[in-house]
C-alpha cells in the first residue's frame, strides 16, 4: 500500500504529456527534413547554407531539451536547470577556447598569404 502511494507520487514528478511529445516530435521532424532538403538540393550558396543548418540544429536542440528532456520544469530549487547552464558554460569555454587556439596555430603555421610573410 505504501509502495502504491509513493509510485503515484513519483509519477507526479515526471512532466511528460502527449502534447509535449507531439510538439517536440513534429518540430524536430519538420526542421530535420527542411535542413536535409536544403542541403540535398543545394538551395542556397554554401556560406548561407551552413549558418541556416546550424541555427536549425540549435533550435531543434532547444525544442528537444524543453519537450523531451523537460528542462526547467522540475521542482522549486531548479537544480537540473542550474547544472545544465553550468555545463553549458564549461562547454562554451572548451569549444570556443579550443577552436580559437587551433585556428590561431594553423594561421601561424600555414599563413594564408605565403608571399607576404611578416616578422615581428
Amino acid at each position: 500500500m505504501s509502495e502504491e502511494i509513493s509510485l503515484n507520487e513519483e509519477k507526479k514528478l515526471w512532466h511528460g504529456t502527449y502534447l509535449s511529445y507531439g510538439i517536440g516530435f513534429f518540430v524536430s521532424l519538420i526542421f530535420t527534413s527542411i535542413s536535409f532538403l536544403l542541403v540535398a538540393f543545394q538551395v542556397f550558396p554554401p556560406e548561407v547554407l551552413i549558418y541556416t543548418v546550424a541555427s536549425f540544429a540549435l533550435f531543434q536542440a532547444v525544442v528537444q531539451l524543453i519537450f523531451f528532456l523537460h528542462l526547467g520544469q522540475e521542482g522549486k530549487p531548479h537544480w537540473e536547470t542550474f547544472i545544465f547552464f553550468f555545463m553549458l558554460l564549461i562547454l562554451l569555454i572548451i569549444a570556443v577556447g579550443s577552436l580559437w587556439v587551433m585556428n590561431d596555430l594553423n594561421e601561424r603555421m600555414m599563413p594564408k598569404h605565403m608571399t607576404t610573410t611578416h616578422h615581428d
Binding site: S6, W14, G16, Y21, T32, A54, F68, L69, I94
Partner: protein
C-alpha cells in the same frame, strides 16, 4: 540587541537514524545524479566534436566528407532515432497511465528502431572500411570514427538497458524502482537523440556542403 538574528536550534538528543527521512525525496535525488552524468557525457561529446572540427580538413590525400558521406543514409538514421525517441517517451507515458502492456509494446518498438539505426551505422562503417577508408587513413577519418563510434557505443549500451528494462517490467511489473529506471532510460535515449542531431548537422550535412 542582536537577539533577533540568532537562530535557536535545539537538535534532537537521540535521533532515530534507522528510519528513512520522510522529507527526503529519493526520486529527484537519483534523477539529479543521472542528470549530472548526462551533462558530463555532454562535455565528452563536446571534446570529440571539437576534435572533429579541428581535424576534418586534414584528409592526408584521402577522401573528404564530401566524397564519402551518403546523405540519404544519414537522414534515415536520423529518422530512426527520432521515431525511437518518441516511442520511448510514449512507453513512459503508458507506464504513467498504468498500462504495462502498452509500455512494453512501445519499448519493443524503441528497441527495433534503435537496432535499425545501429545496423545502418555499422553498415556505413563497414562500407567505408571495405573501400579501404578506415580510421588509419587520415586524421579526418580517425576523428570521424571516434565521434560517431562513441555515439554508436552509447546507443549499444542504451539498447542493452532497454532490453533489461523489458525483462524487469515483465518480471517485477510497475513498481517504484522499475518506473524510475524507465524514466531514467527515457532521459538517456532523448539525450542520445539530441547528440545525434548535432552529428547529423555538423558532420554529415556540413561535410556534404
Amino acid at each position: 540587541m542582536t537577539d533577533s538574528l540568532i537562530v535557536h536550534h535545539t537538535p534532537e538528543p537521540h535521533p532515530d537514524t534507522g528510519r528513512p527521512d520522510p522529507h527526503q525525496d529519493y526520486f529527484s535525488m537519483r534523477f539529479i545524479g543521472f542528470w549530472v552524468y548526462l551533462m558530463t557525457d555532454c562535455i565528452l561529446f563536446t571534446t570529440l566534436f571539437i576534435t572533429y572540427a579541428v581535424l576534418h580538413t586534414n584528409t592526408f590525400g584521402g577522401p573528404s566528407g564530401k566524397d564519402l558521406f551518403e546523405l540519404k543514409l544519414a537522414f534515415g538514421e536520423t529518422m530512426a532515432l527520432l521515431f525511437s525517441s518518441v516511442t520511448c517517451g510514449l512507453a513512459v507515458l503508458a507506464a504513467v497511465h498504468q498500462r504495462l502492456r502498452a509500455s512494453l509494446v512501445w519499448l519493443g518498438v524503441t528497441i527495433t528502431l534503435g537496432l535499425s539505426f545501429l545496423t545502418m551505422e555499422l553498415w556505413e562503417f563497414h562500407h567505408f572500411y571495405s573501400m579501404g577508408h578506415s580510421w588509419r587513413e587520415s586524421a579526418f577519418l580517425s576523428s570521424f570514427f571516434t565521434l560517431v563510434g562513441t555515439h554508436g557505443l552509447h546507443i549499444t549500451f542504451g539498447l542493452t538497458w532497454a532490453g533489461v528494462m523489458v525483462g524487469q517490467l515483465l518480471y517485477h511489473g510497475l513498481t517504484v524502482d522499475t518506473f524510475r529506471r524507465l524514466v531514467l532510460f527515457s532521459l538517456f535515449w532523448h539525450f542520445l537523440d539530441l547528440i545525434w542531431i548535432f552529428i547529423f548537422t555538423f558532420v554529415y550535412l556540413m561535410g556534404v556542403i
